[in-house]
């Protein structure tokens, strides 16, 4: 209520500044909600007053950019007020020209950016389109369609079968060559020679036990020793034991027959 009176007194005070002085009574009536407004242009103006009153905006200091945003939100609810947007745009243009004039005089062009009007604003169609879309008129509908997908054909199943067969064959080959390698590898190493070498080492100890890890240097040598050790243990020629399971030292000792 207070705000209404403030705006009315502001309008009366600014009477001389009005573009159309004779409209002053109409403005006051609009502010006081006394008349039903049919004319879209007047409704647009009414919306300006409403917004200023609702938001308690200082009539002497309107931030045009902020105000426009609020204004758009307001008229979104009333698509017939599209014309109001148009008016605001024109007002914006006029104000911009005015401020440009002022700025030019003051040589403070850097502030120009603040009131930059987006390019699309200038075109009638673009403006019209954008406002209507904002007002929920859509150029394409929300539609539900299927995800593009189709059945598999028998030929595709068969091709898959062929591929699978090839893959399996390759796998078998790899497996075969892998096991083949191991056999070859062991043969090359010649287990019998390894056994001899281990026996020689152990017999030098005069029947004393030796920690397993002292029998080899590095992983590779360990492999060449383990197999002979297991073989010798199985034959009963050596004894293998561990002090503390599972982390204790493993010992090897020659058995005396």
């Amino acid at each position: 209520m207070k705000m209404k009176e403030e705006i009315i007194s502001y309008i009366i005070k600014s009477k001389d500044l009005l573009y159309r002085e004779e409209n002053i009574q109409k403005y006051i009536d609009i502010i006081q909600n006394k008349v039903y407004i049919k004319n879209p242009f007047d409704r647009a103006i009414a919306a300006i007053f409403e917004l200023v009153i609702e938001r308690e905006i200082d009539p002497c200091q309107i931030d045009l950019i902020k105000f426009s945003k609020l204004y758009f939100e307001k008229i979104k609810e009333d698509i017939n007020l599209f014309v109001a947007g148009k008016i605001l745009f024109m007002a914006w243009k006029i104000l911009r020209l005015q401020s440009e004039e002022i700025l030019r005089n003051m040589e403070r062009k850097e502030e120009m950016e603040e009131i930059e009007i987006p390019e699309w604003y200038g075109e009638d169609e673009a403006f019209d389109y954008t406002i209507k879309v904002m007002g929920n008129e859509l150029p394409f509908e929300k539609k539900i369609r299927r995800m593009p997908s189709r059945k598999i054909t028998l030929v595709e199943l068969i091709n898959a079968f062929e591929e699978a067969k090839e893959k399996l064959k390759k796998k078998k080959k790899v497996k075969a060559s892998w096991t083949g390698n191991i056999v070859e590898h062991t043969h090359k190493e010649d287990i019998e020679n390894d056994i001899k070498r281990v026996m020689e080492k152990l017999s030098k100890l005069n029947g004393e036990a030796i920690p397993l890890k002292k029998l080899y240097n590095g992983k590779d040598e360990m492999l060449s020793i383990l197999l002979p050790l297991l073989f010798l243990a199985k034959e009963g020629k050596i004894a293998i034991w561990q002090d503390n399971f599972p982390f204790g030292e493993i010992y090897v000792k020659l058995n005396h027959d």
Binding site: E125, D128, Y129, T130, K132, M134, L138, K142, R146, M147
Partner: protein, 162 residues
């Protein structure tokens, strides 16, 4: 036979299909395709499914009345507010992210993220500016034959004008 093949194509494609695409595999005349599609449209009159023309292409889709019931089953669901943003981008593209923000507010970030996820947008960087553009998938999905910006604007504007 032609009719059923076209029916199968429309069902499978899940997007608007042009006469040219249909003709590539079927050696038939345009008017035969048109006739078959007209008949199909009639066959589906009493169905929850419809065949409609979208920018000169044909698409099989759910009728509006049933959209609400099947939303949950749909592979792609676009909300109305997302669609609104997409419509604005479609008209103004390439559009700066900052300009779009001026139009739709801070929801711009979420919307761009969503629309990119759905494959409708791409974002290009030009120095410090982010430029938003439509993808080929957009044109495909909404059945735009021509990617010419002016033409698309014209089509969009006409649709809104009614």
């Amino acid at each position: 036979m032609i009719k059923k093949i076209i029916e199968a194509i429309l069902f499978t494609a899940g997007k608007p299909v042009s006469k040219e695409e249909i003709k590539k595999d079927l050696k038939v005349k345009d008017e035969d395709i048109e006739k078959a599609i007209k008949e199909l449209m009639k066959d589906y009159e009493n169905s929850a499914i419809e065949i409609v023309e979208v920018n000169g292409k044909y698409v099989m889709q759910i009728r509006n009345e049933y959209v609400e019931y099947v939303k949950k089953f749909a592979p792609m669901e676009i909300s109305k507010s997302l669609l609104r943003t997409l419509a604005i981008i479609a008209y103004h593209q390439p559009i700066k992210q900052s300009d779009l923000k001026q139009m739709i507010g801070s929801q711009v970030y979420n919307h761009i993220k969503e629309l990119r996820k759905k494959g409708f947008l791409k974002v290009k960087r030009e120095g410090r500016t982010k430029l938003i553009e439509l993808t080929n998938y957009f044109y495909e999905y909404f059945g735009f034959e021509d990617k010419n910006r002016e033409k698309i604007r014209e089509i969009l504007y006409k649709k809104i004008k009614g």
